[in-house]
């Protein structure tokens, strides 16, 4: 009798839980219903394959490029690339004229085919996107590039396919700059690092001799601004990642930090701390004119321009605690926009202009969320022990941020990793990095 009752209670408790869990799975997968599509290997001649195998150390360039496309599209959460083992048609023939019934048979709704060959030591790539059910070509593009750019070929194809099928620009031919971390928590060694959006081609830009923080891309070129503790003087620096040239931004008698570029890339906006007070300043990179934007005895930091350059969102504790404010870009009309429970930091304006992403601390948990630019419509996307510093994908669909783990009772087990999540709150993913990582910044599209 007693046993029966217990079983009954367990059943009651478990049942609704299970139902909830199923609904959640339904929402993540069902709601987005990733489109099944087939990415055929790009065909190539045996001669070219052999030449490229020697030059790039890859066995089959066409196959590898198609895998890059599959990986990108799969990670977007919007597409479901089908297993190549099920493909009936050979790549070269499919690219000329697909037998649509064969592709429909394996339930592919779209098909990507292509061809790659060497022409005057350059890679000539063509690809087509096909609507399998309608039996029609949707897109056909050809371009040439140097062989060492072969991974970018996969990213460019991914972007074109994404754009054709969603109506929005892609975000695959992009890079992430971030801070690579290693060593114990009390003596972290930090280096600037840059990698392709999919985690490949990692390069380290500093040696780790000094502490570096918060790198951010110029939205118009491949310049970066970041904070370096070079000679124990924390200052904002400007770095050209093509040439490696760098310089201090401005001549301030104290710490400058929290830098970002203006949308046209011509100004850097940052905080300058002096005598216990941090205010927001800009420096014009052409004429070197420094302008003070805020003048308040509170901490004003983490400034971020709206994409039209007319407004600035920033973080201030002028109300007593960290909150998000918006002002005109000349510093007038300051207005607090965060009014929810908890502390708010790191506002970052979406490249679409309609949303501000932020970090929120409430009851010992950290959240990444978005709100409209008037502060209404707050939506929390993810909760964790510690996470912060969201950065938008150039199309404003995905946020990348970093997350740190809680240490155990011995103070061990610390790690910092990059994560991404869709604006929808779904499709949360660990972003592969060679080392521990933090402070990610997403570049603009490298090609258009």
């Amino acid at each position: 009798m007693k046993k029966n009752k217990l079983l009954f209670i367990i059943f009651l408790i478990l049942y609704p839980f299970k139902a909830l869990a199923l609904i959640e799975v339904d929402i993540t997968r069902g709601n987005l219903s990733p489109l099944p599509l087939a990415v055929s290997s790009l065909s190539s001649s045996e001669n070219d394959r052999e030449t490229l195998r020697k030059e790039l150390d890859i066995k089959d360039i066409g196959l590898e490029i198609s895998k890059i496309v599959e990986n990108n599209l799969k990670k977007s959460g919007l597409f479901n690339p089908l297993n190549k083992d099920a493909f009936l048609q050979k790549p070269d023939i499919a690219h000329l004229k697909p037998r649509f019934e064969d592709w429909a048979l394996i339930k592919a709704q779209a098909l990507i085919t292509g061809k790659v060959n060497l022409q005057d030591e350059k890679l000539r790539v063509e690809f087509r996107l096909w609507d399998v059910l309608a039996g029609k070509e949707m897109l056909a593009i050809a371009f040439t590039t140097v062989p060492k750019n072969w991974r970018r070929v996969g990213h460019i194809i991914s972007d074109k396919v994404y754009e054709r099928l969603t109506g929005e620009k892609g975000y695959f031919d992009t890079r992430i700059i971030y801070v690579s971390e290693k060593g114990p928590k009390t003596q972290r060694i930090k280096r600037l690092a840059i990698m392709d959006q999919d985690g490949f081609n990692t390069k380290y830009l500093t040696l780790g001799n000094e502490l570096v923080l918060t790198p951010r891309f110029n939205p118009t070129n491949q310049m970066v601004t970041y904070l370096s503790y070079f000679k124990n003087l924390p200052r904002v620096y400007l770095l050209d990642i093509e040439t490696g040239m760098q310089e201090v931004v401005g001549d301030f008698p104290g710490m400058t930090f929290a830098p970002r570029f203006s949308p046209n890339g011509k100004k850097i906006i940052m905080s300058f701390a002096m005598d216990g007070n941090s205010d927001i300043y800009t420096m014009d990179l052409e004429n070197r004119i420094v302008e003070r934007i805020t003048n308040h005895p509170s901490i004003d930091t983490s400034p971020s321009y709206s994409p039209n350059g007319k407004y600035i969102a920033f973080n201030s504790d002028r109300s007593g605690y960290q909150q998000i404010y918006v002002m005109k870009s000349d510093g007038t009309k300051v207005k607090r926009i965060s009014f929810g429970k908890g502390l708010y930091g790191t506002p970052v304006w979406s490249p679409r202009g309609d949303l501000i992403a932020f970090t929120k601390l409430h009851k010992g948990k950290f959240y990444i969320g978005v709100m409209r630019t008037d502060g209404k419509g707050e939506r929390l996307l993810t909760e964790n022990y510690y996470q912060e510093a969201p950065s938008w994908s150039p199309n404003g669909r995905v946020l990348i941020f970093y997350r740190e783990t809680k240490t155990d009772s011995k103070g061990e087990g610390f790690s910092a990793k990059l994560w991404s999540i869709d604006l929808t709150g779904y499709n949360e993913r660990l972003v592969d990095t060679e080392t521990d990582a933090s402070d990610p910044s997403w570049s603009s599209l490298l090609s258009n």
């Binding site: 923080l213 701390a273 216990g276 901490i299 605690y321 601390l361 010992g364």
Partner: protein, 148 residues
């Protein structure tokens, strides 16, 4: 039963130990403290999100000021720190604010600002790698470091 009793006794002891090391959210222990000279502690501690000096902090800083007056050639760097429970950029500003609170106090006790520089590390250089209130309280600090 016996084991349970032992465990609870242990728990009480740990709780008491923590209690005696944090008062009003400020670390009052000596685990991490170093000394600039005999009886001159090198650091002061702060409450979460605060840069207000406690009575104990002011006493420490008066000792530092006396030591600096006795050693007029010494210059110092005040290193301001925050715990890990805040955003990186805000914590950089908070560390700077904390170090300046200490600097201001040293100056009211006659130490020239030319002998004091300030350096904020935000949350970048914790002394205690733990993820608990006691560890965090040790990390919210301003440390006076001899610069020459």
């Amino acid at each position: 039963m016996f084991l349970g009793f032992l465990l609870s006794a242990c728990a009480t002891q740990t709780a008491k130990k923590v209690d005696s090391q944090i008062q009003g959210d400020v670390y009052t222990g000596t685990d991490t403290v170093k000394y600039l000279a005999d009886g001159v502690p090198d650091r002061v501690f702060f409450a979460t999100n605060e840069s207000v000096l406690t009575t104990a902090s002011r006493e420490t800083l008066r000792k530092q000021a006396a030591w600096l007056r006795k050693n007029p050639d010494v210059t110092v760097v005040l290193e301001g720190h925050a715990d890990e429970r805040g955003t990186r950029e805000y914590n950089l500003a908070l560390g700077e604010r904390r170090a300046n609170a200490a600097k201001d106090y040293l100056m009211t006790y006659g130490i020239s600002s030319s002998r004091i520089s300030v350096l904020s590390y935000g949350k970048e250089r914790p002394v205690d790698s733990g993820s608990n209130p006691l560890s965090w309280s040790k990390n919210r600090r301003s440390v006076t470091v001899k610069a020459n």
